[in-house]
């Protein structure tokens, strides 16, 4: 093999890695978790403001508010002390179909999870917030394990920004 060919192949492989790297940055990967696995993601003592939104593809008001959650995400994402976490309560059976296609279509960003922990609902619903009935959409704003706000309803873009900028 000539040096020129080796060089070309290495370049090609290099581009492949670059492309793969770029793809995983913009690709919205979703992790299926139970609550025990999910909770540490937003209860860290790291001075980071976490916005945790509970939603599902079958929830009309959730679907309606997600685009402006994404607009707000774009505004704040460069701030290292801000993180947006989207938690889908869709049926895990629908992950590969309804959920993933929805994520791609809506271009959902942030840390994406599907919470699959049906039998523990009676425990994790009150753990997220003692007054929560479990209805969605619901948005928790939390820092260092301390709840700063919890809304068991849809939020307007302004309301969301207000809850964030107050604590950043």
């Amino acid at each position: 093999m000539s040096i020129r060919n080796i060089f070309l192949i290495t370049l090609a492989i290099g581009f492949l890695f670059l492309a793969a790297g770029c793809k995983s940055e913009s690709k919205s990967e979703i992790k299926v978790v139970n609550f025990e696995q999910l909770e540490p993601a937003f209860t860290k003592n790291d001075d980071v403001l976490y916005v945790v939104n509970f939603w599902a593809t079958w929830c009309g008001p959730c679907v309606k508010e997600l685009p402006h959650f994404m607009e707000v995400y774009e505004e704040f994402k460069s701030n290292k002390k801000f993180k947006m976490i989207l938690v889908s309560l869709d049926d895990s059976d629908n992950l590969e179909t309804a959920v993933k296609s929805f994520i791609i279509r809506m271009n959902l960003k942030g840390e994406l999870y599907l919470l699959d922990d049906i039998k523990k609902m009676n425990e994790w619903i009150p753990a997220v917030n003692k007054d929560w009935s479990g209805s969605i959409p619901a948005t928790l704003v939390i820092k260092n394990g301390q709840t700063l706000s919890f809304d068991s309803r849809d939020l307007s873009k302004d309301e969301l920004i207000e809850r964030i900028s107050k604590h950043l």
Binding site: D91, I118, K119, K120, M121, P126, G134, S135
Partner: protein
Amino acid sequence: MKTISKIAGLLMITLFSFGTLSAQGGYKIGDEATDFKLKNVDNKMVSMADFKDAKGFIVIFTCNHCPYSKAYEDRKIALSKKYAPLGYPVIAINPNDPAAEPMDSFELMQVRAKEKNFPYPYLFDDGQKIYPQYGATRTPHVFVLKKENNKHIVKYIGAIDDNYKNANDVSNKYVEAAVDALLAGKEVEVKTTVAVGCSIKVKK
């Protein structure tokens, strides 16, 4: 001046408490539950008072359209078959407004009851007057009542069990445990659980 501000303060507190009461609404454990007179799918009116020999009731707010209600249909039938002979009949009540959710009309209730051969009354909360008194927020939403001195006392509120998705993978049968305890004259251990289901449909 001082008296006026005191009165104003008292007034505000009263107004706020009423506000909170009406906002939360519904029964707590130990409250007396209201009876009702609602139309069954066979067009007859049904009240808890009709069940002279009952020791209590398993009141389930449920409907036709909600996937969670549907997922529990066989389990509701099983509860009825097990506990009606023991003195705790199931009474199902549809709390939804058909104007908000057409699939929960009285006619479609009759269709479903016939399809599944419901062994229990399936009543229509006409005008949606009963469910707000109970404080039901979801379908299904269970209220287990025990008759004490001719009153229906709330002993359990919440879900039927811990797995709406898979009847074969249930670890906690909340309603059965509650009724078993009441039948044995014991205290109900798990008195309330989060009700999992669809929101109750109200016309806006």
